[in-house]
Symmetry: C5
Subunit: 352 residues, 5 copies
């Protein structure tokens, strides 16, 4: 028999979130070292532009000091550099970055776990909205379509990837998540705010109607549908709020200013100037430790930038479009193809 679900062609080609834990499942020799030689989703890819700019600026100032300045100016510059170097240590970047990134990390995971997945809902619809005739199929498919439509509406306002895929509401109709009538109804209902909850209100009303028609057999089954609907809606709502209420801008600014100003002063303070006194002098030309420090702290800040909005288009961001496709596909599979379509019951291997 032919499958009635949604068949989507191009999923294999889409970029995948960078999963690497299977590669480091065993803590073998070298361990994480194998993770260092990757480009996709790596810190190198994220940071190389900033790194180049920092190197260029450092070289520029270095040449200025060595070739342009006269002896007296060099002496003043050297003093300034030592002053910068001494005081730059006063900014406790590791503290503020540690706390900031930890908080961003918790929100990041919180956002992922708030992603509305229709799995519970589709099992409940499949098991409790009866009838293998056309009306039954229509009811089940429409219920699941409403649920998926709702998540598409909310994701459009959050994720830049989804926004690009569905630039207008017509694109959603085009993609089969909504009918033209539904779009007209949605547009007619006036609200100053995001209308993502409306298809879920239709779900509630349609379920209630299915109960009247006897497609939902009893009140307890209806309650189950309502409970799962509310769980689903809560997740959509949570996603909306994670987007609306960001980490206070002030906090992000304080952290950013700390890191940026530290490296601005490093440009001067870490030049290989002549030492003040009898102190030993070593001129390496390439400030390897300063570059390392830059890599480290700027990289830590980049972690924060990356995870503060996981619905962007970074290599490591959530695969929202893929998840949308997966959700509609499995929804239809579960409520239509698999409805009352059981493998034959057999005695298992250990039957005595």
């Amino acid at each position: 028999f032919p499958l009635k679900g949604v068949r989507l062609g191009n999923l294999k080609d889409s970029t995948m979130t960078v999963s690497y834990t299977l590669k480091v499942a065993n803590a073998k020799f070298g361990g994480f070292s194998k993770l260092l030689f990757r480009w996709k989703g790596s810190i190198y890819k994220l940071l190389y532009r900033e790194f180049l700019v920092f190197c260029l600026l450092y070289t520029f100032i270095s040449i200025l000091y060595r070739c342009v300045l006269n002896n007296n100016q060099q002496e003043i510059f050297a003093r300034l550099a030592r002053h910068c170097n001494k005081f730059a240590k006063l900014i406790p970047m590791s503290f503020v970055l540690g706390f900031y990134v930890t908080q961003a990390f918790q929100r990041w995971w919180g956002q992922y776990t708030s992603f509305p997945l229709p799995d519970n809902l589709m099992m409940v619809v499949s098991g409790n909205v009866h009838g293998t005739d056309e009306r039954g199929r229509l009811l089940r498919r429409t219920l699941m379509r409403y649920a998926n439509l709702s998540s598409v509406l909310i994701l459009r306002s959050i994720s830049t990837r989804v926004r690009k895929r569905f630039t207008t509401l017509e694109d959603i109709v085009e993609a089969g998540f909504m009918t033209t009538d539904e779009l007209r109804k949605l547009n007619h209902l006036y609200s100053d705010f995001n209308k993502y909850w409306m298809p879920l209100a239709w779900f509630a009303n349609l379920a209630s109607q299915a109960r009247k028609e006897g497609r939902v057999k009893d009140d307890i089954a209806l309650r189950l549908l309502m409970d799962e609907l509310n769980n689903y809606r809560s997740k959509c709502s949570m996603l909306f709020h994670y987007d609306w209420i960001s980490i206070p801008l002030v906090y992000t600014q304080v952290v950013t200013v700390a890191v940026y100003s530290f490296f601005t002063f490093s440009l001067i303070g870490r030049q290989f100037v002549k030492p003040a006194s009898s102190e030993e002098h070593l001129d390496l030309y390439i400030p390897i430790f300063t570059l390392l420090e830059f890599f480290f702290y700027a990289g830590w800040l980049k972690v924060g930038e990356l995870i503060i909005n996981p619905f962007g288009e970074d290599d490591d961001d959530f695969e929202t479009n893929q998840l949308i496709d997966r959700n509609i596909q499995v929804s239809m599979l579960a409520v239509d193809d698999m409805h009352q379509n059981l493998p034959p019951l057999e005695k298992d291997k250990y039957w005595v």
Copy 2:
């Protein structure tokens, strides 16, 4: 057909919470740097007054040292400054600020997630309180009005913005959240404590009456209404307690005293005094690192100040008035306009 919901005019003009995550969705070159050039909701706007005061005081002391004091006094001042500078390092501000702000941050988010949203309740009311006649509409609208009234009552005692909008209970009647009879009843009932729960008790009794009238069809639907009512009430209650039980004053005082005293002694300790011994001297006039440190630590404390009460009138505080308008609007939309008002059922695009 005309919409029966609440249409509110001036929402677009109201100030919006500062959402910026969409701007940094992709971790591109520069990353957070684009967030540094904003005034609204920024650390600059919050901090510039303290910053000016600090600069003025520093300048005053600097002039005093350079122009007014004689050589001997200068020497004593220099010693004092070195003493201050040495010991000011003993106060571990980054530690105490890191822990304090983290705790304030968790409460801040906890408060936001405790904000009572009627979405679950309105779906349940729309799906389970039947009848498209006037009595049915009246029941559904009144139930949702009670819920919204309750949240307005609790928010009035928490949020300065809401308090300004509804200075007296009559203002709430005026805004259409309460009738005059309800206000009279509310005033009649004597309680030494916040009465925000009373409209919810009316909700419970009205739902129970609707069950008797057969508008709520079965006991399980009534139970569902009661469960969602209790969830809603728990959030109102949580909000009340977040407000009542603050972070212990003692903790806030310890943190504040630490930061303030640090910068008081910085005013002396960070003056460019003549060095004690052969130590190198550099007179920059403008204490750029001290200003940076001020910006950083005082900014971190400001983050704490900002998030310790998110129901104030800061740029970054929660949009309580907007949320109140949104809630009553969508409540009415869901239980009245959208009640049993479904788009026609059609076969979806993938139907086989």
Copy 3:
């Protein structure tokens, strides 16, 4: 009509938990500075005795060093002081205090959120135990009285304030939470452990009896009563366990010893002794930074002391007696005065 609830006279006069967040709702100029000039619930009130003792001891040693000791003894003392000063830095107080206070803080908030509030229970009783006759009122009032009695019993064993108010079980009878018969029954039932759960067992049995009498209309309503009862009991139980299982004594001792020994050695190490070598000498007589450090670290430890048991009689501790009064008052109001006593249903302002 006269109110049937509990009217309590002296609530207004009782001390209130120190709520200050409304005062700092807006992050204005000065910010937290306005919180520094308070006495009630302040760190000054908590710490001034320790502070005075520290000052006295410091002065005593200072006089000893300056006036009593001869030159040779002074030299030895100075060495000892420098030794103390150098090694006192080895104790990472900020670390251990930061982690300890954070953990105490989480327990503190956990205890508050475990406080049993009858609000959910009273709504459920009001909506599901029917009958406006005397028997109905008696059932509802008794059920709520049992719930409140239970919380009083548990709070007596936790809170010093409640223990003072109800020194004997007779005081509870006197206050109207229990009848003499109930007290007799309670005493008769032998248990080696806290009996706070017994009134809740009566609640369960009485609800079950009300179901038999038909006062509770259906099994689902009874289940709702049972569910809310279990939630209420869980909170009482949680409170009991928070009290029974403290933060391990060992942890508290380690932290306390660290802070106390640090300041004991500070008494010697922070004296203004003559410097060892060419090092610069500054004699301030008043060790302002040491006092500041004392204020800071001892204050942080005081935060821990304050929040480790929030059921004491500190200014900042929970208002247990007030909450007990509030709970019985609103319970009676909700199940008696407000039972089926609804304001007339009217069309709201936005009705179309």
Copy 4:
């Protein structure tokens, strides 16, 4: 009437978990200082042996240095000591201890809150399994006995105290938690894993049988019994898993090695050796700061040791045997003595 519950004699004599919060309910002068002079459950009791060993070793090396070594050897030793002292600072013990103990602390509290208490279950059994005849009593008592038996089985495999009390399964029969028939059945059922869940499966089956007999009146009451049973089982299961999956051994080893090696090198590095150069020399003989540091860091590690398994026999460990006795006692009291045994309903004091 005679009580039908379980009367246990020797509870008063058993050691109690060290609760001290009531003693520090008010943050008075001195505060935590009163906690320092306790022996039971104290850090002194836990640490004095290690402390003595450390002192002995230090003294031994000290005598070796002062009396045995010649001048040249002393010089080499002094260099070694200075080297040790300088590098021992490189190990960030406060960091790793802070994070480790925090994680152990969260598990510790998680384990306590996973302790299966029969309170909810017994209320549900008392209110929903009807009949005051012998069959009814037998059903209720057996159900509660099964629940308690299950917790005894799981605690035997976790707690050393409970293991000592019930060395064989026969001891459990002896103590009245199991009958001989039940033991035979338990032994007959073959499983390679802990069988703690089997009595709970009996509970489920017995409840289902009671429903058939009509002792449980309706399906909703049966569902309530099943829900509470599942909660109870989840807690038993959680306890089992906390025991099975420890904090990774590797983590514990890293922390332990850090602390132990630090103090090993302290034995050499903190000797009062002659200074290298003009540096000031102070020979205190007793290395008071090193001892303090030992007390502090080793004490912090001991906190970790103490809480990593709260089911041992330390003073501060959970009172598992007492809790087992309490649980069976209150279970029987609630389902037998208190079943349908209500105090007479009276009008309360505030009745109007």
Copy 5:
């Protein structure tokens, strides 16, 4: 009577997760020291290869410096070494490791608690799917088989151990978790994503069919089955997402680069070079503190490596194969052997 459950032979021989808490139940003298002398699951086993490589490299450079370089080159090398040593301190490894490992630890425990255990489900199936005839047994066994099959499918894609055991889907049929018909059906249903949820959809449909046949007696029992099914599915789903969404690669790279570069520069910086000035020189040949530091920091990173994927084949990883065996065994035991198979009801020891 013969047991009908699954009897598995080789469980005893399989490696067990390293549980050690029972060994340190009592905080005795020495405490954790006894944990240091273990090889299995120890840090030594994990780290010895890296340790050897580090030693070899250090020795190589040491020999180069001492034997190959001439005086002038030695001088330059010494300067370089001092430079390295001074700047290597700038990388705050303890901070970043502390925060990183803490976050990995929380995920690690989150993954364990997401492990789907059939215990609740099997009790509910045993108590609510009736009939001791063949059809009843078949229904119960098949339901539990579906649940177990689902967890096997998800674990195959996560755990390297389970993947090795079941390399193809045929291996799962072989092991008795699936019949050939079921495999055919599973293969027929097309989905681009993991199909672990399909057997659970069969479960839902089969339960619904059992309700129609009257094997499940009422709607509330069916709802209970559905609720527990959804809990079980949520756990499978959570496990899938923990695997899919790793800690961002960028974060792991930053931490790894920090630790690796630190030790690369330690190879040079910690050589025993001749001191720059009058500074004291001590040549130990073996850099004991550097090795200790390596052991400590690299060990801490290894903790991160170990717990970032607990489904590998390390000694300390979860015993997924064992758990799979345990789950199918107890499932069959509970729903078949123990179904309605109760020990005789007897009066307990304390019966009065």
